[in-house]
Symmetry: C2
Subunit: 342 residues, 2 copies
């Protein structure tokens, strides 16, 4: 049904001629066509307007022909639906005017009806599928409950999310009640996305790596596992935890189809710690896209050689940066398409 | 000569009754006596005035009786001495008005005469030694050349130091010339500190973990190794790289006496990756000091059990946070002093 099924085959662990490639945040500020839309509409308008979200989603596919599209949206639409106000401040990032810090704050947090509160995401999926014409698969995503907690407790982006961690370590029952509400919402949300037509789900645990290995199990992983258990029979799942190298063994046994890894681990070590069997995705340092196109091509070739062409999805180790030259992004994609085993 | 030599013995790998303990940033904003001085004098005045720096250094020792003192100073006094202006902005952190971005910028960067430019640090060491009366050893420190580069190129603190990495990846020769100047300055600086009387040196690679394992070797480690080679016969060296778990094997073979580890690794894994032989220092999550004193004591006990009492220095995995309750910091120190093998 999907014409280019390289990505889905890699998720199944099948043998492929070359690995598939896409880039986290590929629908983003390095693209002039994205910047045009960005000038006219604010962040959440872009997320909430299916015409805009679907257009932004397919822009990088038209320009570069990646092997998968990822729906333009944001992990913070989930807390918005849960009755937590989230704003996006220009140049500053997310801002939560009334962060969740105590039991009273928690009372106003709801587990919402998804169609009512996030129906616009499902409409964006329908519209994107029409535009994609089954050329490539469409990825849907959600943030991990822990990462969502970080924002809604801290109230804004942070280097160490000390307030969020303080809540977890001083009021663990409150933290777990909040995490469970986010988990329940996320499960319904992702089931609706799958029903609307996405072909795979990626879970982003952007701030997992701020926790110790033990606290990661307690405050992040157990909720991710609940989500994976709930959806894995309906869709392949990719779990990406930034800085979570220490949980690769746990992730490999979770029922997820693939694990995303950041650039702070060698391909060899990532294979070893994940048990040498599961599909891995990553892990080019996004700032390495500042190197020359020739250097990028050489490094991508070496990266594929090191991961191996099978059970592997080429990607960055985190989102592409806003000011990457177009020809450098092109070099990254082309290097994969030109890949041949020596 | 030093009355409490537990710390120095742990650095030598000797058998001890209990491990020594100190806390990174122990002379810091959680202490009311520090806050009193902070209200009267700005950041670099505190660093540059030997009476103040020495007083701040001994404050935590008086209150808690840690097994080592660490000289109050900042890693950015080194670029200041190299003719790079560095300011400390309240609530914002370091700010470099004229960051180093091109060859012309590099020309004004000097390798200074240490006595002339950083004599005040040596005076602070002399004065601190007088106040300590040989009760406990005194640690001197420096930032890694890579971490210094991050600040002087980026111009301010950053989540990903993208501008600093961009310079390294697009103008590697310029980056290496700057790194070598910082390295040469740091070696002279640390030799002067050792001559002035510090009993051990800690090297802080706060931003090493932003690099891939391969880029870490190229842009950070080779310069740290130069520093270790130059001073290891004159003083024990502790090398601490935040997020640098992937380099523990390299660090273990470097000639350093000990390796500092952050909290994102289990003690078991830290021992394994460092070859089960070198002294390790760390790695309590600083935000875990928000837990109750009883929980802190229990966790410290478990941490020592896991690292083992020998070849181990109890510490946090990063600097203590400003608003930690005094009794929680006390619980951390007391748990170590009360430690007994079951």
């Amino acid at each position: 049904m999907i014409k280019n099924d390289l990505f889905l085959r890699a998720l199944k662990g099948e043998t492929v001629s070359r690995p598939p490639v896409w880039m986290m945040r590929q629908a983003g500020r390095y693209l002039p066509e994205f910047m045009e839309i960005r000038e006219k509409y604010d962040f959440f308008t872009r997320c909430q307007t299916p015409e805009l979200a679907s257009e932004i989603t397919v822009q990088p596919i038209r320009r570069y022909g990646m092997d998968a599209a990822i729906l333009f949206s944001d992990i913070l639409v989930v807390p918005q639906a849960m009755n937590i106000e989230v704003q996006m401040k220009a140049g500053k990032g997310p801002w939560v005017p009334n962060p969740i810090r105590n039991t009273k704050d928690l009372e106003r947090v709801i587990v919402p009806d998804i169609d009512e509160s996030l129906g616009y995401v499902m409409d964006a999926i329908t519209m994107t599928k029409e535009k994609l014409q089954d050329e490539v698969p469409l990825i849907g995503f959600a943030g991990s409950p822990w990462t969502i907690l970080c924002y809604v407790v801290e109230g804004e982006g942070s280097k160490n999310f000390a307030k969020a961690k303080q809540l977890c370590f001083s009021q663990p029952e409150l933290a777990h009640a909040l995490l469970q509400k986010i988990t329940d919402t996320t499960i319904s949300y992702l089931k609706a996305k799958i029903k609307a037509g996405v072909n795979a789900i990626q879970l982003f645990d952007s701030w997992g790596g701020l926790l110790s290995p033990e606290d990661y199990q307690t405050f992040s992983w157990q909720y991710l596992q609940q989500i994976i258990d709930a959806i894995k029979n309906e869709s392949p799942v990719i779990v990406f935890g930034k800085g979570c190298w220490y949980a690769l063994d746990t992730m490999a046994k979770s029922g997820a189809s693939a694990i995303g890894v950041d650039w702070t681990i060698t391909p060899q070590m990532a294979r070893k710690l994940s048990g040498n069997n599961i599909t891995l995705q990553g892990n080019f340092d996004p700032t390495r896209l500042y190197s020359s196109p020739a250097t990028i091509k050489q490094m991508v070739k070496e990266m594929i050689d090191a991961f191996g062409k099978d059970k592997y999805i080429v990607n960055l180790g985190h989102g592409i940066l806003p000011n990457i030259p177009l020809e450098n992004a092109a070099a990254f994609i082309e290097a994969v398409k030109e890949y041949k085993v020596d």
